[in-house]
């Protein structure tokens, strides 16, 4: 640090949300307790998204809930969470010991649930909210909400009206359409995070059964990165002003670079943790820094969407 001037600025801003670096723990992975959030901060993350929290507690689905396919993963945890009344305490405790921003992921089956959970999360001290409009395997939640653009716009409007903190929409690949996003922006959305997992299933031909107890789940990991890159590329081309969190298959600094080049301001890190553990955060930040130095970029901001200008 002393003999090498830090030439690269790793900080990023997602509206009023300031990150020391562009790595974000994505929703559903480890963001279930204050102690795990603390570990993620220590591991070097720029921000933490909590597990999606609903009003009532949800036990989630029975095992098996997570299948490693080598090139990706299929999971059906089933939005397992203790409910916002309990989780509020977890956030309070986390806020006491954690300095990086905590983004509360809000789940719900209707406008009321979204607003209720959002309010509680804000009160507990979340620095930002992310609306889960995209989980593909819990009926009534996530993608079922996100497919209804009118309802979603209303949810965004209501949540924005009670929130001074930036609000992001977590989109699935199939709903990341121009006409949807236009309406979300009109409704006041600050940030877009994409993509969530894609509805998928794993079949075992020996037992002749599905592997997941819930039968269907969501595909994540390296193999969805080409899809996520196209989504972020498309959104950034149409809406260059909205900050994007690129999520899907980020597994190393190179994939983080890919995401940022196509338009992401920050990158979400999820199932890659299964393979690499928490060291992935520092690995990405270091690799990205070195890449930017070599290519002559001064800040992540300059790299964001560079592929559109190159």
């Amino acid at each position: 640090m002393l003999n090498k001037p830090c030439t690269v600025d790793m900080k990023v801003c997602l509206k009023s949300l300031h990150l020391i670096n562009p790595t974000v723990l994505t929703s559903g992975v480890l963001g279930v307790s204050y102690s795990l959030m603390k570990r993620v901060e220590e591991a070097g993350a720029g921000a933490i998204t909590t597990k999606t929290i609903t009003k009532e507690p949800r036990e989630g689905y029975w095992n098996p809930v997570f299948v490693d396919l080598g090139y990706g993963y299929v999971n059906a945890i089933g939005l397992r969470n203790p409910g916002v009344d309990v989780f509020r305490e977890e956030i309070r405790r986390a806020k006491k010991i954690i300095r990086i921003p905590i983004i509360g992921s809000v789940g719900g089956r209707d406008l009321d649930e979204f607003v209720y959970v959002a309010e509680e999360m804000l009160e507990a001290g979340c620095d930002s909210l992310e609306l889960n409009l995209s989980c593909p395997h819990v009926s009534g939640y996530g993608g079922d909400i996100g497919s209804d653009v009118e309802l979603t716009s209303k949810i965004i409007k209501e949540v924005k009206s009670i929130s001074e903190k930036p609000v992001s929409a977590k989109l699935s690949a199939s709903h990341a359409k121009k006409n949807f996003i236009e309406k979300y922006i009109d409704a006041g959305i600050d940030i877009i995070a994409a993509i969530n997992t894609l509805r998928a299933m794993v079949v075992n031909i020996d037992s002749m059964t599905p592997v997941l107890s819930n039968i269907v789940g969501g595909l994540s990991g390296p193999c969805i990165r080409p899809i996520a890159l196209a989504v972020i590329y498309d959104i950034h081309r149409e809406f260059p002003d909205i900050p994007l969190i690129g999520v899907g298959g980020v597994e190393d600094w190179m994939s983080a670079v890919e995401m940022i080049l196509v338009g992401a301001s920050a990158v979400g890190i999820g199932s890659a943790i299964a393979k690499k553990g928490l060291s992935i955060f520092k690995e990405i930040v270091k690799g990205l820094e070195k890449y930017m130095e070599e290519k002559g970029f001064r800040s992540v901001k300059d790299l964001t969407g560079y592929i559109h200008r190159n």
Binding site: L30, S33, E59, N63, R80, V86, I273
Partner: protein, 276 residues
């Protein structure tokens, strides 16, 4: 490698009733694996469920894994009621961190119930590394005793039962105090109910003897992503950072297995129960 799914088909080739509630299952795997003592497998029974079970043994040449399974609920109950020689299960693993083995060390192994499972495989591996073993096994009643002769072959073995039918009347802890007062060990390994482990940790701490314990929490993903198996306040994950941990973590633990193991809304409310 591009995998189809992570489950190795396995066929039961032998079942032994060890006690009323505990059975030993010898299963032949379709593919070789390389488990270390303390590691576990996720055993999937299609349409029933998937549970973590420790390796009680591994016979490499024949690809045979030994699992010691106690009947507790849905999946273990299903296994005991329905599985016969020839039945099929699916195994993913080995998962987790194993016990540390130091060549030639003087080791004390202690456990109870199905906790004997990982200890047995550990004892075998310790002997291969020229360690000297003292083994203490605790059981509730005389009728709960199992695996004792298998352990005797591997090292100096003492037993306790609460009804006094076999060995010393009392608990593991009684034997442990006696043993630790008379001799120093390089390493203590323990596996069993968490209340027991905490007592052992206190004793080892007082004696300044290194301790490794195998811990349990509800396991969902088994790969360190869902966070279900977290131990507070450290944030350590049983499935990934464990199940084998330094005994010291027991001294500061906040969420105990008893709370965590209830497959009810309570599990999900762990956060709240910690708060109190």
């Amino acid at each position: 490698m591009v995998l189809r799914d992570p489950y190795i088909p396995a066929t039961i080739i032998e079942i032994n009733q060890l006690t009323e509630n505990i059975r030993e299952y010898c299963v032949k795997l379709d593919k070789s694996i390389d488990p270390e003592p303390g590691q576990f497998a996720m055993i999937w029974i299609p349409k029933v469920g998937e549970i973590p079970i420790s390796f009680a043994d591994w016979i490499c040449e024949e690809k045979i894994a030994v699992f010691v399974i106690a009947r507790v609920g849905k999946v273990t109950g299903y296994i005991q009621e329905n599985f016969k020689t020839g039945s099929k299960m699916y195994v993913r693993g080995p998962l987790g961190r194993s016990f540390t083995i130091r060549e030639g060390a003087k080791c004390l192994l202690m456990g109870g119930g199905y906790g004997l499972a990982p200890l047995y495989y550990l004892a075998k591996k310790l002997l291969e590394k020229k360690c000297r073993l003292k083994i203490i096994l605790g059981f509730k009643n005389g009728s709960d005793v199992f695996y004792v002769n298998k352990f005797r072959v591997l090292g100096d073995t003492e037993i306790s039962t609460e009804d006094g039918k076999i060995g010393v009347r009392g608990t593991l802890i009684d034997v442990l105090e006696k043993v630790m007062n008379s001799e120093r060990y390089d390493m203590v390994y323990a596996c069993g109910r968490e209340e027991l482990l905490i007592k052992i940790a206190l004793i080892c701490n007082a004696k300044n003897t290194p301790l490794e314990v195998s811990m349990e929490r509800l396991i969902k993903c088994g790969q360190g992503v869902c966070g279900t198996c977290v131990i507070e306040p450290s944030g350590l994950l049983v499935c990934r950072d464990g199940p084998v941990f330094d005994g010291k973590i027991l001294l500061e633990i906040k969420n105990h297995s008893s709370e965590n193991f209830t497959r009810s809304i309570k599990i999900v409310c762990r956060g709240a129960s910690d708060a109190k």
